[in-house]
């Protein structure tokens, strides 16, 4: 069975780890009550992780557009192939939409991002207290959509590996 190209595999796993870290940190930081140095640190790290995901996502999209994914096995039902394409498409959309929504959310709160504490990133929007609660909801629900999509993605991979035993999962293994 044909495998994904090496850069595609590398990008997949780097982004996967970054997203898991950013997601876990996001849930942790919002549960810290009040105002503590740890909380502020986590917020900054969360934003840096998000921006890193966005950067890698751009590289990955460019790579994906120029290097087609390997074909699915011929015995895989059409509906499953379409479902897989749809889910991958959704994951790509979320990979961009989530960091962007978080970025706009923090701008609306009047807290721009200084990447790694060193590089101030563009502020293209004035603080907007009216829009802030809406952006928070958008960022939250995009993440819940990601969580659901991620679960399906992992379950599908496990199904291919242990039920179908069709080597689909092996295409992306390092």
């Amino acid at each position: 069975m044909q495998r994904y190209t090496k850069p595609a595999v590398l990008l997949h796993w780097i982004i996967a780890l970054l997203i898991i870290a950013a997601f876990a940190l996001g849930l942790t930081m919002v549960d810290i009550p009040g105002l503590t140095p740890t909380k502020l640190k986590y917020f900054s790290w969360h934003k840096w992780l998000g921006v890193t995901v966005l950067g890698f996502a751009c590289l990955r999209l460019l790579w994906r557009l120029t290097h087609p994914a390997p074909a699915y096995p011929f015995q895989m039902p059409r509906w499953q192939q379409s479902a897989a394409h749809g889910l991958h498409g959704l994951l790509y959309v979320l990979m961009f939409a989530i960091p962007v929504s978080g970025y706009i959310y923090t701008l609306s709160a009047g807290v721009p991002v200084v990447y790694l504490g060193l590089f101030p990133l563009p502020v293209f929007m004035a603080p907007n207290p009216e829009l802030k609660p809406l952006l928070k909801l958008v960022h939250y629900w995009l993440n819940m959509t990601l969580l659901a999509s991620f679960c399906l993605h992992v379950l599908a991979a496990l199904k291919h590996q242990f039920i179908d035993r069709d080597d689909v999962f092996k295409r992306i293994l390092p």
């Binding site: 105002l35 900054s44 709160a109 721009p112």
Partner: protein, 193 residues
């Protein structure tokens, strides 16, 4: 006829009284708080953050003809500090930060105002005064610019301070890598004619 006459005399009398009042109280300027701002700018992990003090009162008695005679003071309501998040606003009023329960007001009192050397007359001044926050006082100096816009006078300036001088941020918050020691207090006062 009589009633109209009474009305006119009343208005005339009122106007006369007003002009007398404004002549005797000519000195202190009326600060339009709706157009004026006091903002603290600080860096949190290198991220610049602006926070407004929404309530303050300024008494400015200033005449460009004799700036040395100027008197000015500003009272800032600490509990009106707005970081843009109600939860954080509550947090910074606590003991480690502003301790607003014990020190509800910050004050600035001008001691001297001198025209800046080299600047066109009536545009730039060097101000010295005493700033008190959280019960701690410190002498500060800063440049002030004055602009006339229409009939109003606009005072702009930035006071650079160090938050730890005033004990703002105690305990673990003394760490200046989290919140920088340097804070700029920017003010913009619009005085009605």
């Amino acid at each position: 006829m009589t009633s109209r006459f009474t009305l006119i005399t009343t208005i005339a009398g009122g106007l006369a009284a007003l002009s007398v009042a404004s002549a005797t109280l000519a000195a202190p300027l009326k600060i339009d708080t709706s157009k004026s701002t006091v903002v603290a700018v600080f860096k949190q992990m290198n991220v610049p953050v602006d926070a407004k003090f929404k309530k303050f009162a300024a008494q400015i008695d200033f005449d460009t003809a004799k700036p040395e005679a100027a008197k000015a003071s500003v009272d800032i309501d600490i509990s009106s500090f707005d970081l843009g998040d109600p939860e954080y606003n509550k947090e910074v009023l606590k003991k480690e930060w502003f301790n607003a329960a014990q020190f509800p007001k910050a004050t600035f009192v001008v001691s001297t105002i001198k025209p800046s050397a080299g600047a066109p007359a009536g545009t730039k001044y060097d101000v010295a005064g005493k700033l008190t926050i959280k019960g701690k006082s410190s002498d500060v100096q800063f440049p002030l610019t004055l602009k006339k816009e229409g009939g109003t006078q606009v005072f702009d300036g930035t006071l650079p301070i160090k938050r730890l001088t005033f004990n703002i941020g105690e305990g673990e918050w003394k760490d200046t890598s989290m919140v920088a020691d340097e804070v700029a207090i920017k003010f913009h006062f619009v005085a009605a004619p």
